[in-house]
């Protein structure tokens, strides 16, 4: 690959859009359906230009019918297409939960394997825009508890493009969760249609004192916390999970066995969040390596508040992460 191509910068949104366009180009069975995804190009501009390029046959505007949108994808996938269906906000997953978790996730198993379900669901999660309690949630823990689904939550343009392509090409129902506060973030994005393999985490910073594990926007905040602490002489290793179901537990454990301390971070409500599963697995598999409890940073047990004054206290940030790291590190070795 030429250097200039490798250094091309795209925004998170553009990277998604380009990845999607490329899988649509390569496979005529890929179409996109959802509310305002066609003529409007998506309310977040996430599908901009695709209608002009692929036409209304492949960029399908639907009624406000989240259950039928997912069902449309399921039915089309069962008979051999490769649908991408969009739920405008991740909160709307709850409106379509039966079709997602009782149908899409289970069909292959219930049918004794006699089908594939190459369905991709795209959606927009996360808080930080004062969108209120029903437009700001991070609900991945519910989805990761459902066998049959895969879930990706990329934190940057490069991973988003690669995971979007991998998800659409994958033969299983996969949910691609964008973060609505990252849309403008730029990053280097190769032009070709590459995959970031599903289920692979990235070690985004190598360190020895503590393992920080995060995904989606919190991977950025975790990186910032690590940066901040470097000045204090604390050397963090940062892992961006990228895929949250399945979890790349090997990469996690390798790091934990080296650093012996862990701080998990997500935007979702702490109780019952993905951090719980990670903490449980880490202590199961690396019990003797741990010098301190696996710590979890997440949202308090409350809906997402509207007021920016509250929302900024609700969503974890680099400072809160750094504070937790300090606490985790200052815990004396068990004696």
């Amino acid at each position: 690959m030429a250097t200039e191509a490798a250094e091309r910068q795209l925004s998170y949104l553009q990277a998604f859009n380009e990845g999607l366009a490329q899988v649509m180009d390569e496979d005529p069975d890929v179409f996109v359906a959802g509310e305002d995804v066609g003529r409007t190009g998506g309310v977040f501009h996430n599908f901009d230009g695709l209608f002009e390029r692929f036409g209304e046959r492949r960029m399908v505007d639907t009624p406000i019918s989240e259950q039928a949108i997912i069902g449309l994808g399921i039915g089309a996938a069962v008979v051999g297409l490769r649908p991408v269906v969009d739920l405008m906000f991740m909160d709307f997953v709850l409106v379509a939960m039966d079709q997602i978790a009782n149908q899409a996730a289970k069909l292959k198993y219930m049918f004794g394997g006699n089908t594939t379900l190459p369905l991709t669901i795209t959606t927009m999660g996360g808080a930080g825009l004062s969108a209120g309690a029903q437009h700001s949630q991070s609900l991945e823990a519910m989805l990761c508890h459902v066998p049959g689904l895969k879930v990706v939550m990329p934190s940057n343009a490069h991973d988003l493009k690669g995971l979007t392509i991998a998800s659409v090409r994958d033969d299983n129902p996969t949910i691609v969760v964008l973060h609505k506060k990252l849309l403008g973030n730029k990053g280097i994005v190769p032009e070709h249609a590459y995959e970031v393999p599903l289920g692979t985490a990235a070690v985004t910073r190598v360190g020895t004192d503590v393992t920080l594990i995060a995904y989606s926007r919190m991977a950025i905040e975790a990186g910032a916390a690590a940066e901040q602490l470097a000045g204090e002489g604390i050397d963090c290793e940062v892992i961006d999970l990228r895929t949250v179901s399945p979890i790349d537990i090997e990469t996690v454990l390798t790091s934990v066995r080296k650093t012996n301390r862990v701080v998990l971070v997500h935007e979702a409500v702490r109780t019952g969040g993905l951090g719980a599963e990670l903490a449980a697995q880490i202590q199961e598999h690396a019990f003797d390596y741990l010098d301190a409890p696996v710590a979890r940073v997440g949202a308090p047990f409350a809906p997402v508040p509207f007021s920016p004054a509250l929302e900024s206290a609700y969503v974890p940030d680099a400072n809160r992460i750094a504070a937790q790291i300090r606490e985790t590190l200052h815990r004396p070795l068990p004696g």
């Binding site: 179409f31 359906a33 046959r57 399908v60 639907t62 009624p63 019918s65 989240e66 259950q67 039928a68 949108i69 997912i70 069902g71 449309l72 994808g73 399921i74 039915g75 089309a76 996938a77 069962v78 008979v79 051999g80 297409l81 649908p83 039966d98 079709q99 009782n102 149908q103 069909l107 292959k108 198993y109 219930m110 049918f111 004794g112 394997g113 006699n114 089908t115 594939t116 379900l117 066998p147 049959g148 895969k150 994958d170 033969d171 299983n172 289920g199 399945p246």
Partner: protein, 324 residues
């Protein structure tokens, strides 16, 4: 549009196959040889047969908790069906699905469904794919009267209409949802009144008359294949057994009298009488068909009973395609 004799015989045989399969399944359930829940299709045979005889093999159907009849009518293999009901490895779903998830993708039967309304959007998705491929295949959603009260049905019906998809909505109105009479859950006389809400043509047919169902379906399919969008077909029918299990009479939610009235109009008996009267088949020919289907059902039972159980080692197979 009267059906050729061939078609009438086909309707009859499919109905008999459903009836005898279901009666056998009921007995096996009663004697605990079939585990779980069972929702028998007996009484409604004319609907599944009438619709499916009118379909082409490439047309898809999606089904319900009361799905055996649909699969039999689409050409399902009785042995693999019975094996599935018994939870055997040789069943349609390798024992993982059971009665409520029985399917045959090769026959374009996209599955029974345990969630009321769950299968309707799936049929619409198949219809979308047909239009996308421009192949003039039609998908059919079977569902009950009570199902038209649930959100997924509404969204799916409207979606099909809005996108002008080639989908036939077949409402099997047996006047009950479980133990609740339809009049207590909707304030309309006929379910077909709902079609207009979607701008869909609506048709009503006697669901105890297989030929009438076949004719109505044939007309509906012609309209759908012409590209004008979905059609809603209400078939008035009745289930002889209770919602679940094998009781018929003595229920408190409906009168024995009502049950007997519907049974006196039995679709199979009616068709047989008209076949004999019309010279389409003799009594002996009909008896021969029944005997041959009985044999087939016996074979299916034997196959199922002799089949191995699924292996515990395979418990987590087929959760995903490929490595997780």
């Amino acid at each position: 549009m009267s059906p050729p004799s061939e078609t009438v015989r086909d309707l009859h045989e499919r109905m008999v196959r459903i009836r005898l399969f279901e009666e056998a399944a009921g007995r096996l359930f009663e004697s605990n040889r079939i585990p779980g829940f069972i929702h028998l299709y007996v009484g409604q045979e004319a609907v599944a047969a009438g619709v499916c005889v009118a379909l082409r093999p490439d047309d898809q159907i999606s089904s319900t908790h009361r799905g055996h009849g649909h699969l039999v009518a689409k050409g399902g293999d009785l042995s693999r069906m019975m094996a599935e009901l018994m939870g055997k490895a040789t069943g349609y779903c390798n024992g993982k699905g059971g009665s409520m998830h029985i399917c045959d993708l090769d026959l374009n039967m996209l599955g029974a469904n345990g969630i009321v309304g769950g299968g309707v959007p799936i049929a619409v998705g198949a219809g979308f794919a047909n239009k996308y491929r421009d192949n003039d295949t039609v998908s059919v959603a079977f569902f009950g009267d009570g199902t038209t009260n649930i959100g997924a049905f509404h969204e799916a019906a409207n979606m099909a209409a809005a996108l002008a998809l080639p989908v036939l909505f077949v409402c099997e109105n047996n006047e009950y949802a479980e133990y609740t009479a339809r009049s207590r859950t909707m304030a309309i006389d006929d379910v077909v009144e709902r079609a207009a809400a979607y701008g869909m043509p609506g048709m009503v047919v006697d669901g105890m008359d297989a030929v009438a169902v076949w004719e109505a379906t044939t007309r509906a399919l012609a309209s759908i294949r012409s590209g004008t969008g979905p059609v809603f077909l209400e078939a008035k029918t009745y289930r002889y057994y209770n919602h679940h299990g094998i009781q018929t009479l003595g229920a408190k939610y409906r009168t024995d009298d009502e049950v007997e009235r519907w049974r006196s109009r039995d679709a199979i008996e009616a068709l047989e009488a008209s076949m004999v009267a019309g010279g389409v088949a003799t009594d002996a020919e009909i008896a021969a068909i029944r005997a041959s289907v009985e044999l087939e059902v016996d074979t299916a039972i034997r196959f199922a009973e002799e089949s191995p159980l699924p292996l515990v080692e395979d418990l987590t197979d087929n959760v995903y395609t490929g490595a997780r």
